[in-house]
């Protein structure tokens, strides 16, 4: 570190005129070097235009990170502009570390989802752990205290040891990190399909609560204000992670050419969380931002960009973990548990004192300037000097060609009528379906997550959405993540609508009014026309659904290039939705509660089997038309259900999704404190395979006392929602029985319960091998 008395004054005037000299030992800037930094010829031209000279190696690294897809959104920005982002309750829309909505009683909720797909593919435990760490920092940098996390996961099928290893490692990583920091996990999802072989998806969502007036932004304003590095030291972790996250994986991806994996330190995160919140409340700072992807570079330049100011940073003053780090390495390191803070001039010691209380460091590494430049010094020598605004906002954006892929067209045209032929006793395929890891209970996952810390969790994972109360008010918040990638592959626009609709339905079934979403667009390589087509269509579908449900998008994340050896994942636009319960007593669960209660089915069941779990498990296929989505019908359904819950007419509500009506009934039957049988008679004359296992959207299974039955049917009718009394909840000794005109299912409920809860533990028991590390 330089002696502070001899280092130059950080605020220089007319700094824009300074031309940095190449550092001794830096590689020369050649076409190959530019290409290795992921910049196209056209983009490099633009760099030259901005600088009016050749960039130094350090500058090239900075542009490369900032103009990567991960930071620059170059292939998605134009599409993202199509999403609705406004509503009276939105306090902060896209563009900040997290979106913020008003939840009443003077409180605001910050929430956001973030992916850590590539790091998790390389090192599942640390990749997932640091993913949770990053999203928590996004929340507490807004001034909000994290109150819940959710995780949305995708893996290849579990018959592969590698996939079991990834799954086990990711779950342990998500768990260990959140458990240690002390944030309850309240839900998520997991989906297994060969399309995610080699490209697991790990999306983590976090929610945080604050008083409205405590909201703070990531801005570096006020000329002369010091910029401070806070928290952990900088090492050589994940250098170029942002660029790396924007590339395809290939065969030799695990080789040592890889950037150093980032190791999470949740203990330091917990201290950083407390210190940051204390710092924000203290009034000693003007802005704070997580050093996430592209580390110091993106946090400092974005803070300057947002404030319309400049920054000057001295690399020799950055606390480092290792000797001999170059400015390039320091700037691009993605070491975890660090923050960048713009403090008020003269309050440096107060800032240090707060950090020291939490056993953390804070060092002044530069200052806010007024010349609009992002300037980097090394021992007083300028090594990079770039106009901040063009760097953050000048990244070229592209609209690309999009055409539907031929393979999808063909899959959609597949004649599925033979699939619908089986009739009669369908208990066996039903039990196989219940043994699919996509349908079976996810308890194996969430038993590893602390779900009750903070003593506010009202509905834990295992129902339709998680619910946390807001202490000191009557209110509660519900949250869910949803997306069916198969539907999105078959029809990205309908699939994205279905994801939004399912998320909203899950919230409504839990008693909440859907309020806003965050989203994570996980796709393949957008330079390929069929992928770009998926991306555009999915965004359009999401936009349409969000507009109709009045659930604006307040933020999100884009993860492209999820391909291995040219094979892309399903388009997977994960929707993370939050909702509000005015009264925590409205919290409703999926499980049947009382023997003798009436079971009512809302919504329409069509003869659809396309894209279903049944088709994948029984026939190994992903084909046919994705289930259609009728957004208006969906909205009527949701209004009806929410009304019934708020008036206290029903005792349980559950959305039908993977595995269809039969699976949904089974879940309601066995997921309560005691498993209860059901006696259901269906009258629809459609093929029983479609009736039982088809995944028509827009359906909900309710239970209510017999006294409420006619009122519930009446409310449904008044909303124009199809509703049928289909049977009764049985006792603990009753069978699980569904009869229909052309088929039936009958099984002891205990056997069903064992299958439902036993599947994942049994599959994962074989994983002991990989778990012992």
């Amino acid at each position: 570190m330089t002696d502070p008395t001899t280092s130059p004054s950080p605020v220089t005037t007319d700094g824009g005129a300074v031309i940095p000299r190449p550092r001794p030992g830096d590689p020369e800037i050649t076409a190959e070097v530019v290409e290795a930094h992921g910049l196209s010829a056209e983009e490099y031209e633009r760099v030259l235009g901005i600088l009016s000279r050749t960039p130094t190696f350090t500058e090239l690294g900075i542009f490369s990170a900032m103009w990567s897809e991960h930071c620059g959104y170059k292939n998605s920005k134009r599409l993202l502009m199509l999403l609705p982002t406004e509503a009276p309750w939105v306090i902060q829309g896209p563009g900040e570390n997290a979106g913020v909505i008003d939840v009443g009683d003077g409180l605001a909720l910050a929430f956001k989802i973030e992916s850590h797909n590539h790091p998790s593919a390389v090192e599942p435990y640390q990749g997932a752990a640091t993913g949770v760490g990053g999203i928590l920092r996004d929340i507490f940098t807004m001034g909000a205290r994290p109150i819940a996390v959710l995780d949305s996961l995708r893996f290849g099928d579990l018959d592969s040891g590698r996939n079991r290893y990834l799954f086990a490692g990711v779950v342990k990583g998500v768990g260990d990190y959140g458990n240690c920091v002390g944030i309850p996990n309240i839900g998520g999802e997991v989906f297994f399909d060969r399309a995610y072989d080699g490209n697991p998806l790990v999306n983590a969502m976090a929610l945080g609560l604050m008083k409205r007036e405590d909201l703070i932004k990531g801005e570096a304003s006020g000329v002369g204000n010091p910029i401070m590095a806070v928290g952990a030291r900088t090492g050589r972790d994940g250098i170029h992670g942002a660029t790396f996250a924007s590339e395809e994986l290939s065969e030799d991806s695990d080789e040592s050419s890889r950037p150093q994996v980032q190791v999470g330190d949740p203990f330091t995160e917990k201290l950083l969380l407390e210190a940051s919140l204390e710092l924000i409340r203290s009034g000693h700072i003007v802005g704070i931002q997580d050093m996430g992807a592209a580390g110091v570079t993106s946090s400092a330049s974005e803070m300057a960009g947002r404030a319309g100011s400049g920054v000057e940073l001295e690399m020799a003053d950055v606390p480092v973990r290792e000797e001999g780090m170059t400015p390039y390495e320091i700037l691009l390191s993605e070491s975890q548990e660090r923050m960048l803070v713009a403090a008020k001039a003269g309050r440096e010691d107060e800032v240090r004192k707060i950090l020291a209380k939490w056993e953390l460091e804070a060092e002044v590494i530069g200052a806010v300037t007024d010349d609009g430049y992002f300037r980097i010094l090394e021992d007083g020598e300028v090594v990079a000097n770039i106009p901040a605004l063009p760097l953050t906002d000048g990244c070229p954006t592209y609209e690309r060609e999009g055409i539907e892929g031929e393979d999808v067209k063909e899959a959609r045209r597949r004649d599925l009528s033979p699939v619908l032929e089986p009739e009669g006793d369908l208990t066996e395929p039903f039990m196989r379906l219940m043994g699919s890891p996509n349908v079976a209970s996810k308890r194996w996952i969430y038993d590893q997550y602390d779900t009750t810390v903070r003593t506010s969790t009202v509905v834990r994972p295992g129902s339709d959405a998680g619910v946390v109360r807001l202490r000191g008010t009557r209110r509660a918040i519900a949250a869910t993540t949803d997306c069916n990638g198969r539907f999105c592959w078959l029809n990205p626009r309908e699939g994205a609508k279905a994801a939004v609709a399912e998320a909203a339905r899950n919230l409504v079934c839990s008693g909440a009014l859907p309020t806003a979403i965050t989203n994570n667009l996980n796709f393949g390589n957008p330079l390929k026309p069929h992928i770009y087509h998926q991306l555009r269509e999915a965004v359009l579908g999401m936009a349409e659904a969000c507009s109709l449900f009045e659930t604006p998008v307040t933020g999100g994340n884009v993860s492209l290039f999820n391909e291995t050896d040219g094979k892309a994942i399903y388009p997977t636009p994960v929707v993370g939705m939050v909702g509000i319960l005015d009264d925590v007593d409205h919290a409703t669960r999926a499980a049947f509660q009382v023997e003798g209660d009436s079971i009512i089915l809302l919504g329409e069941t069509s003869e659809e089997i396309g894209g279903s779990e049944y088709l994948y498990r029984e026939h190994g296929e992903v084909a046919g038309e994705a289930p259609s989505v009728d957004l208006l019908a969906e909205r009527r359904l949701q209004h009806a259900v929410l009304g019934m819950i708020q008036k206290g007419h029903i005792r349980s509500a559950h959305d039908c999704s993977e595995g269809g009506l039969a699976a949904a009934l089974a879940e309601s039957a066995v997921s309560g404190e005691r498993a209860l049988g059901v006696d259901v008679q269906l009258h629809a004359r459609i093929a029983p395979v479609a009736l039982f296992f088809g995944e028509s959207t827009g359906r909900v299974i309710l239970s209510c006392s017999a006294d409420e039955e006619s009122r519930v049917l009446e409310i449904a009718r008044s909303h124009g929602v199809p509703a049928q009394l289909i049977g009764r909840v049985g006792g603990t000794a009753s069978p699980f029985s569904i009869r229909a005109p052309r088929g039936s299912i009958e099984i002891p409920v205990e056997t069903l319960r064992e299958r439902y809860f036993g599947t994942l533990p049994e599959l994962m028991a074989q994983t002991a091998a990989e778990e012992v590390r």
Binding site: E123, D265, E770, V772, R773
Partner: protein, 92 residues
Amino acid sequence: MSRFDVEVRIKPRPGLLDPQGKAVHHALESLGYDGVSEAKVGRLIALTVEAGSEADARDRVEQMCRKLLANPVTEDFSLRVTEAPAVTDGDG
């Protein structure tokens, strides 16, 4: 065939953050033990294996390490092989 005691020493790779080492270092300092300039925390796996020779034992355990015991992305390992019955460490 003879029996060999193999001690597998697994350490975090250099350059990687080692939160455990950091915590130990910090704790030793606050207990007043100065003069500790570095602390790293890793794992120790002690195996007893049947093998034809020492080289063979080493070979097999190296394989186990690569396949299962050590995580190649985050850890380095090294082995110590001795013929069993192991001499007890007189140095503890």
